[in-house]
């Protein structure tokens, strides 16, 4: 299925958020996820199913002043 991830359209193979984070090669502890403008906390990733056309943002805290 096709989703928009961080502003880009990609083909997503994972069916749940946990899988997507893994698929992107990210350390889960550093990622903040937003699905269709709703923040999804890490404990809900496993139960969050990805649908075609979802807008997903994967963010992380970084250094900043």
């Amino acid at each position: 299925m096709k989703i928009r991830l961080n502003g880009r359209t990609i083909e997503c193979r994972s069916s749940r958020l946990t899988g997507l984070v893994r698929e992107m090669g990210l350390a889960p502890s550093s990622v903040v996820a937003e699905v269709n403008l709703e923040v999804v906390t890490q404990e809900k990733w496993e139960s969050t199913w990805i649908k075609d056309g979802d807008e997903i943002e994967l963010l992380s805290f970084v250094g900043g002043g």
């Binding site: 961080n6 502003g7 350390a27 992380s60 805290f61 970084v62």
Partner: protein, 260 residues
């Protein structure tokens, strides 16, 4: 009227005994953050939120910050109030607490804040229960508007971000300190401990320093120097030092008639 001996800065219901706010940007190694915090005594530090680099195995920056330090997520990267609001909500949802530094920048050349958008974001976020610290152009009327919008403090810039120019906006900041019932945190442009001390002597409630500490050859030492400077400036303010005297005393041409 005596100044309080138990000198704390209260923001969002939290008491801070240290008045240096630090930032996590631009460090050569993130492992320097924790020793820098310890050396400076800083009790609040800014972090930013960005889209991840796909494939990055970087550890969460939050793991480098001790639990005792209050996180101040900023909305850097936001160009509109809407974006700033969205970033603030994400930061809170992801467990960073309810402090937020609003930073809306549309001027990419000098990185100066957009006061109009900042005000809109402040209004919305204050109503949602955030402790809002807006980064602002030093403007007295705007400081009043931020107060009315529910800001917890105002953060006028000393000079443009990263310039190390110090208190270029001194006279405006002085006026804001004079009229503001909110704490005034001087943010941006503070390049040397002496400039931080000067801001505190003037009556600023706190100073935020990031670049000058992070980009020095020894950020831990630099952090310590800033911590000491802020404390010294604060103490001088509380000690109510006499101002510089800028005119000599004359004989009595204006008031002599009262004695004759």
């Amino acid at each position: 009227m005596a100044k309080n001996d138990n000198d704390v800065l209260v923001l969002g219901g939290k008491s801070f005994t240290n008045r240096l706010l630090t930032g996590t940007g631009k460090f050569s190694s993130r492992s320097l953050i924790s020793p820098m915090l310890e050396a400076s005594g800083s009790q609040m530090i800014t972090v930013a939120l960005r889209r991840v680099d796909m494939g990055s195995k970087d550890e969460n920056i939050l793991t480098f910050i001790p639990d005792t330090v209050t996180l101040l997520p900023n909305t850097s990267g936001a160009r509109t109030a809407k974006e700033a609001i969205r970033i603030a909500r994400i930061a809170r949802e992801s467990g960073c607490g309810n402090f937020i530094k609003i930073e809306v920048i549309t001027d990419m050349q000098y990185l100066l804040p957009d006061n109009q958008e900042t005000l809109k974001a402040t209004e919305v976020l204050a109503k949602e229960g955030f402790v809002v610290l807006p980064y602002m152009m030093p403007d007295i009327t705007f400081a009043r508007q931020l107060h009315d919008a529910g800001a917890a403090a105002v953060m006028p810039l000393g000079s443009p971000i990263g310039t190390n120019l110090g208190l270029e906006m001194k006279s405006m900041i002085k006026r804001i300190i004079e009229i503001s019932s909110l704490p005034v945190v001087v943010d941006a442009g503070i390049g040397r401990p002496s400039q931080a001390a000067q801001a505190m002597e003037m009556g600023a409630d706190a100073v935020l320093v990031n670049t000058a500490i992070a980009t020095s050859a020894d950020p831990v030492r630099a952090g310590k120097a800033f911590g000491m400077a802020v404390a010294a400036g604060r103490m001088a303010y509380l000690a109510d030092m006499a101002d510089e005297q800028d005119f000599a005393e004359a004989s009595s041409p204006l008031t002599g008639f009262l004695r004759s």
